[in-house]
C-alpha cells in the first residue's frame, strides 16, 4: 500500500506525507524537532528517544530531551540533539 501511495505521489507531485503515512520530520537548529505521522514512542529517557513510524523507528540522541507537545498527528520534541538513527522495517 505504502509503495503504491509513494508511486502515485511521485507521479502526481503531491507531497508523499499527505497520501501515505510516511513521516515528515522538521528540525530547527539542534534544539527543536517536529515530527508528523508518528506511531507513538517506544522509549524515552533524558538522553534518547525512540519514535515509532509506520516504516520503522527513529532514535534521536541528545541531552535533556522532552516531548513538548504530543498528539496523534504530530509530536514536538525539545532538547539538545546530537545524533539521529533510522531503522527500517524489512518488507
Amino acid at each position: 500500500m505504502n509503495k503504491t501511495a509513494s508511486k502515485i505521489a511521485e507521479k502526481t507531485g503531491i507531497p508523499s506525507e499527505v497520501i501515505s503515512s510516511q513521516p515528515k520530520i522538521e528540525m530547527t537548529g539542534t534544539k527543536s524537532l517536529y515530527i508528523e505521522n508518528h506511531r507513538g514512542i517506544k522509549l524515552i529517557t533524558h538522553e534518547s528517544i525512540i519514535i515509532k513510524f509506520s516504516s520503522g523507528t527513529m532514535t534521536a540522541e541528545g541531552k535533556e530531551i522532552t516531548i513538548a507537545e504530543m498528539t496523534r498527528e504530530y509530536m514536538l520534541l525539545k532538547g539538545d540533539f546530537i545524533s539521529f538513527k533510522f531503522d527500517k522495517i524489512l518488507e
Binding site: 507513538g40 507537545e69 504530543m70 496523534r72
Partner: protein, 413 residues
Amino acid sequence: MIYISKLWKFFNGYVIISIKGYNIEKLINKALCSGIVIRHIKKDKNIAEAELLPEDFKAFAELCARYRCRMRIVHKNGFYRTLLFMKRNALYTLGIFLSIAVIYALSQMVWIIDIMGNSAIDKHSILETCRNSGLYELCNKNSPDYKKIAEELRIKYKNIAWINISLKGSRVSIRLAEDKPAVKAVTDSEACDIVSTAQCRISYVVTEKGTPLVKKNDIVKEGDVLISAQLVPAGTEENPVTDIVRAKGSVRGILKRNYSFTIPYSINKREYTGRRRTAVFIGTAYRKICIKNARPFSPGEKSEEIIQLRLGEDCPLPFFIYKNIYSEYIEKRVNKDIETAKKEASVHITEFIAQNYDISSDILSVKTRYSEGKECLSVNAEIISDENIGTEKPHTDTGGSTINGTTENSGSG
C-alpha cells in the same frame, strides 16, 4: 505565537503530574490513541513528568491504573486556579491590587522638574512661576496646561527667546534659550574724556590721545576732566587738527583716606560644649513631616543640612531630608590687654587694605593713632596711597576745571 499558546494554556488550566512505572511509553501511546493531549513529557529512569489538560485527567488516571503506573499531582495551574487562590487569600489579593493602584497613582504625578538652558534667569524663580501656574513637584501630570505655562514664562521673562515644556513619564523638562544682550562695540571713534574718580593730588600723567588738562602736583576734585577728548592745536602745526577723539592715557594721584574703628577690651567668645541635638524632617520643597524632633539649646546655635534623595546620579527625587542641628555653647568673657588690642587693630587695617585697595595701588604710608578708652581702644588709620584715578566718561562740551592746574602736558611724574 508561543505567548498566545501559553496564554491559552493558562486560561484552560493544566495539571502537572508525575508518573511512576515500567510501562510509561505504552501508557503514553495508549493515551494518544484515546485522544488525550500530553505536553512537556520528561522521563528519567522510571519516573516521568507531564502536563495534562484538566478534562483529560480522569481518563488518564484510569489508563494509569490499567498499565500499573502510579500517578501523582505535582502542581495545578490556570486562570480558574488563580481565581480560587485569590478568593481564598483575600488579603494577598487586596495587597496586589493596592500595589497596582499605588504604582498607577504615583506614575500620574510629576516627580522631577528639569530646567535646562537658563543662565541669567534664576531656576527657583522659574519654578515659582510654574508653581503659580499649577506645575509643581508631585502635582497631577495631566492637569497643567504646558503650552499655557510656556507662554506665561515667555511673557514674564522677556529675555526668553525659545521655550519648550515636555513631559516624559513623570519628568517634566523645561528647556529654554535666552536672548543674549548684544555687546556694545566700543570703537575708537567714540569720544571720551578721562575724568578723576576722587579728590587727590596728581602724581603722574601720561597722555596717549587727547589733551591733558592737569599736570603733576595739581589738586583735582572728583569728576574733573584730566585728559580731554577735544584736541587743541598748539599753533605750530601746518594743518591744525581740532577733532574730538577718544582720550587715552594714564593718570595717577595721591589719595588720603581715614579709617576709624574700635577694638573692645573684652568680648564674649563662644565655647562649644560638644553637645548636639538633631531634628530630622522629611518632605518636599514645600511640606515637611517631622521624623525626629529635638529641642534647641539655650544658648545654642542652629545649623541646617538639606539632603536630596536620588535614584542614581541623574535621577533626583522631589524628596528632601532636612536636618536641624542644634549645638550647645557657653559664652565666655575674654579680656585683652592694650598690646593685644593694638596687634588686632594692625591685622584689621591690613585686612581693610587688602579688601578695599586695587592691586595696582601703592600704599605710601599708614599712620595709626590710638586713643585708649575705658571699654575699647579707638583706632584711626590714615592711609596714603598712589593709585589710578582716571576713568572714561563720554565727552561733553563743558569740560572740567582744575583747582590749581594748567593745561600744559606734564609728561611723566
